[in-house]
């Protein structure tokens, strides 16, 4: 399967501040890739550079085999992009926005567009500035999908949507995904959304891609081990692939990546009264992973490999 999105050491500086640091990413065709990270982690910067809207300080990116900075209009027509906040021209009606957008594309699925607008109960006569944030997102999605894209890049598409609209939006997205194996890259803060949709995730921490693996692998790899002692817990010696550790009363809570025999042996050597291993859902795993000591986090790259940094 060919890679639809590839980046090589993609780096972005804003003055002295490094927003994205050497991003190396490969997204194969048909993958639904969730790009996660806290505010300011570099998700939007990365996405904008993939579309040539922002320019890298170092490194390069390719989308559909073309340099992202020099995307030809024909290639751009194969990529749909939903920018953060769903910017559309407020003075336009939905019908005018459709007409304006459609004029740029040779390939346009009007039937699908009408189905989506109908599903969301959006009349073409409604003015965009009078739509709610959720409805605007729905219009943006309809416009993006009507171009029949091979790649969908969505920058925090569910940001600001209420639970019901978000669910509906995601259901639609899932239906769209199921059509002809499209490649989707989307960033999000809402881990539940990512868990439902993404096959693979990447986590950016302070501009560095710390995780790039299947969603399930990430969830399964992060474990919290709670060691309970008779009295005050001892100091934790050097532990490979440690994310964080903290003392809570007589308990020592340790979060590690890829819990294995070596780590279990280390924990046993502390002679705890009892040991409990806790699994996380994606949200908890993400929180535990990203609140850890930022630069020293273990990096996930593939299912087999977990490296210490």
């Amino acid at each position: 399967m060919s890679d639809v999105i590839v980046t090589h050491g993609l780096t972005k500086y804003y003055g002295e501040y490094c927003a994205l640091d050497g991003l190396n990413l490969r997204i194969p065709q048909g993958t639904v890739y969730g790009l996660l990270g806290r505010n300011g982690a570099g998700k939007t910067t990365a996405i904008k550079m993939l579309l040539g809207i922002s320019h890298p300080s170092y490194g390069c990116a390719e989308v559909l085999g073309e340099d992202a900075e020099e995307l030809r209009p024909e290639t751009r027509a194969r990529i749909a992009y939903l920018a953060e906040g769903h910017p559309l021209y407020g003075w336009m009606t939905i019908g005018q926005a459709v007409k304006f957008t459609r004029s740029f594309y040779d390939r346009w699925n009007q039937k699908l567009l009408e189905q989506i607008l109908d599903h969301f109960q959006l009349s073409p006569k409604r003015r965009i500035r009078r739509l709610s944030h959720g409805q605007r997102a729905q219009v943006a999605l309809a416009l993006a999908v009507a171009t029949d894209p091979e790649v969908l890049i969505l920058d925090d598409p569910t940001l600001g949507l209420d639970t019901v609209v978000r669910r509906d939006f995601l259901e639609s997205l899932i239906q769209i995904i199921q059509r002809r194996g499209r490649t989707i890259l989307f960033s999000s803060h809402i881990l539940g959304d990512v868990e439902r949709v993404a096959d693979r995730i990447g986590i950016l921490v302070d501009g560095v891609l710390r995780v790039d693996c299947p969603t399930d692998h990430f969830k399964e790899s992060i474990r919290k081990v709670v060691l309970e002692f008779e009295g005050k817990p001892p100091e934790l010696p050097f532990c490979p692939r440690l994310v964080s550790s903290r003392q809570v009363g007589s308990k020592l809570e340790v979060v590690v990546v890829g819990l294995n025999g070596e780590q279990r042996q280390l924990f046993d050597s502390l002679r705890p009264r009892c040991t409990e291993e806790i699994e996380f859902n994606l949200e908890d795993a993400f929180i535990e992973y990203t609140i850890g000591p930022r630069r020293g986090l273990p990096i996930f790259s593939t299912e087999e490999e977990v490296a210490d940094v």
Binding site: L51, P73, A83, S103, F104
Partner: protein, 227 residues
């Protein structure tokens, strides 16, 4: 695509054009009819009522001022409008080159400025050329400096557009293109009025400066970050 983009741009700046037309209408009526109460509104000196159209009158100075103002507002409107609404990512992701998209904006903005500003000049010129309307000589060649200045306002429009699209802070680099374009326009207008009849050759200089600014606009539009 051409039509859709042109209509979109026109729709966005038509309010500016309309406001400019109203102001142009007021100053043209005031210049044609010195008894008009609009003259009181515009504080026109009494002795101008006997002036010579396009040479010494109540129209040209005000026309320059409002034409420059319209050019500045248009240029900033077309660029800041997209920035403020956050629509640059949407627009720039359309399958068309950045040069084409910016070129369309510039084309529509320039045409709207030129047409909207030419109408009052033509009306005033036709009035001045009609015998019996004023007690002074008139030749169409007397209007040449004003037409040169009218075309020189495109430099101001492009300068404002460049200011709007340039990343940077307001108080230095970003403001520079607009300030420089106003200076160039004033220089050209002064020169045109000094040369007077036969000043049309200055349009070649204006065209050269316009092309140079357009090249800068396209370069900056392609190389800047839309964050």
């Amino acid at each position: 695509m051409f039509r859709a983009m042109a209509l979109k741009e026109f729709r966005e700046i038509r309010g500016v054009a309309l406001a400019a037309m109203i102001i142009y209408g007021i100053i043209t009526i005031a210049a044609i009819d010195y008894r008009s109460p609009l003259n009181l509104f515009l504080y026109l000196p009494i002795n101008w009522r006997e002036g010579i159209p396009f040479v010494y009158d109540s129209f040209v100075g005000k026309f320059y001022f409002f034409a420059a103002l319209m050019a500045i507002i248009l240029g900033l409107w077309q660029t800041f409008g997209e920035s403020v609404r956050g629509t640059y990512p949407f627009l720039l992701h359309r399958p068309a080159s950045t040069s084409w998209l910016m070129g369309m904006k510039l084309l529509v903005g320039t045409v709207v400025y030129l047409v909207a500003s030419a109408i009052p000049l033509l009306i005033y010129g036709i009035w001045a050329a009609t015998p019996g309307n004023h007690a002074s000589p008139f030749e169409w060649s007397m209007t040449e400096p004003v037409w040169v200045s009218w075309s020189a306002m495109t430099i101001v429009y492009l300068g404002a557009f460049l200011t709007g699209i340039m990343p940077g802070r307001w108080y230095h680099a970003r403001f520079l293109p607009l300030a420089a374009s106003i200076l160039v326009m004033v220089g050209v207008a002064v020169l045109a009025n000094y040369v007077f009849a036969g000043a049309l050759w200055l349009c070649w200089i204006i065209l050269a400066v316009d092309i140079w600014i357009i090249i800068l606009i396209v370069f900056i539009a392609k190389s800047r970050d839309y964050t």
